[in-house]
Symmetry: C2
Subunit: 347 residues, 2 copies
């Protein structure tokens, strides 16, 4: 297996990307290679400084570089960047993936460009109008899939129906959840609640869930979303991104407040020592980094969006997660299942 890694994307590139790959290479299968896509000189200069080697292949012969000269920046307009920066690490990554020269592509770069590239260069699965970003959040003794996390700002009810179908297939095949519970993110549980999109999506989901093999559990409010009883919540990319970042913001506040509460006085500091393992266990549950990258569901090949602020630890984790994703044949299974329901008449 070849994992394609955009070495130039993300807030901490290329150091975090390189270090994450170096760490991961000993933890993935011995037949798995990581191909770092980016400027060879820049990468090897960092390798020299970080590891004292002239070339990354001296660290492991399963670490390789594919040389590119351009980088898509966060400020770039997605479609323009994808069309014009032909030798950027992201565009080259997508092309390698498309040509079968790699099995999965990971990037922590510009999200908009990543979606545009995935759709334009790799292509959509037949039957899916809009691919979407599926992120994994913590939930009580479980996890919560959130789709769309931010790739499609404006959505129609049919998109949300497809998101529900994609997450069902994905959760069944990747997490072995037999009958995943899919909810519609809304501001109330009654079917009349919400805006035009949620009201129409509710009806479409309710009327078509059974024939599309979706276990639709109705409207779900954020306050109940993390109970562990819901496996996925579907929403448009604007609302999903607001939700995701609220969770992230509160996570940061929790970490900071807990730390400072414990440091408040010398007695608390001493007192906190015996319970540090428990608090660390708790912090790990709450840390989004434990949950890895988000997947672009709906494109023909596996594309993983690593967190923009990924550090080496998160790249390491995301690389291992991407390997798992390929092993599970999640994309192939999605193509097969959408093929089966393509002729289904919706009501």
């Amino acid at each position: 297996m070849i994992i394609l890694l955009d070495a130039m994307g993300g807030d901490n590139a290329p150091d975090a990307n390189i270090k994450g790959a170096v760490q991961a290479i000993n933890e993935v299968k011995s037949t798995t290679e990581v191909l770092l896509i980016g400027n060879r000189d820049v990468i090897n200069q960092r390798v020299k400084e970080l590891y004292g080697k002239d070339d990354i292949s001296e660290i492991s012969d399963r670490l390789k570089i594919h040389h590119t000269t351009e980088t898509i920046e966060m400020e770039d307009t997605p479609t323009v960047a994808i069309k014009h920066k032909k030798d950027s690490s992201m565009v080259v990554g997508f092309n390698l993936l498309k040509e079968g020269k790699g099995d999965v592509f990971i990037s922590a770069g510009n999200s908009g460009a990543l979606l545009t590239g995935a759709t334009l260069l790799v292509g959509r699965i037949k039957g899916i109008d809009r691919p979407a970003l599926a992120g994994i959040l913590p939930a009580y003794k479980s996890r919560l899939l959130l789709i769309d996390c931010g790739s499609n700002t404006n959505c129609k009810p049919i998109n949300l129906l497809q998101f529900a179908q994609m997450s069902s297939i994905y959760l069944r095949n990747t997490f072995n959840i037999e009958n995943p519970a899919i909810g519609l993110l809304n501001i109330g549980t009654e079917e009349t609640k919400g805006n035009e999109l949620t009201r129409e999506s509710y009806q479409l989901l309710k009327d078509n869930a059974e024939k599309l093999n979706i276990n639709f559990v109705g409207n779900v409010e954020g306050r109940d979303a993390f109970s562990g009883k819901i496996d996925a919540i579907v929403t448009d990319g604007f609302t999903g991104n607001i939700f995701l970042k609220a969770v992230e913001g509160i996570g940061k506040l929790v970490k900071r407040s807990l730390k400072e509460s414990l440091k408040k006085n010398i007695l608390s500091i001493l007192g906190s020592i015996p319970c540090l393992p428990a608090i660390n266990r708790f912090a790990k549950t709450m840390d989004y980094k434990s949950y890895g990258g988000a997947l672009f569901l709906g494109v023909k090949k596996p594309v993983v969006k690593a967190h923009g602020s990924s550090d080496e630890e998160l790249f390491r984790f995301t690389i291992k997660q991407a390997e798992q994703f390929v092993e599970n044949r999640a994309v192939e299974k999605m193509i097969e299942e959408f093929e089966k329901t393509r002729e289904t008449k919706l009501v």
Copy 2:
């Protein structure tokens, strides 16, 4: 001062409402009365069971009942309920407020009906098109005002501009923040980010902030909202409610996970005892109940929306908060300031 309390609204009514009032009456000023609005027989029967008294006035002569026969239920359609349930605790509460027979009205009942009632029965402040619910969330060593928390599902840019102006005035006068930092809740910080509403609102805010005395700090993402550097975030009621409930859901998860992490084994349980004060301090920071009710900003008289699942503790706190709200003359000051800027030409 007379505080009007809807005794029949909320998930735990009337017990929590009664108990909260009984607790609060000894903590508010000796000239403050609480008037419980609801069915006299039901209230006194509960008073009998809870306190062994025949009438609530036997507990304190500053606790009184205003008898009503109807209750607005959570399932009721707001406008229909407000128009037809003339003898409901909520409609009667609004009428007493309007007639000056009380200084502030608190209800934990149906939010939609509360907004409809506040707007139709009490009336909007001149210059404000849509009153909105302003909630208070925790932030780092501070608090974050979120407006609109859920009263106006669909908003226009002009509404968001007015929300920004209202929160500025409110924060200046109630929390003594000289130049409150107001952000627009969005999915990115660049001005081109977001949906049509956020992009247009950004421009309107940017162009008119100075003349309306708003310290507009631009787009704010949820991940940065709780840093303590932002005093208020403005958004439409749908997005605001999604945000609010995400925070609430994560808060519940945090509490549950932390508790269970500490109980994981006997060593952690023993270990956690010395740091319990610190953990309790932390839990208090994170608990939305410490932040009380949300205010309907933009109506001519003070209206407080207590949390639907308020318990006695939260009612107690909300009653004290409402007293403070009246003392601060927050509504009168808002009327005065909007009067001053009414002739301002927007660009």
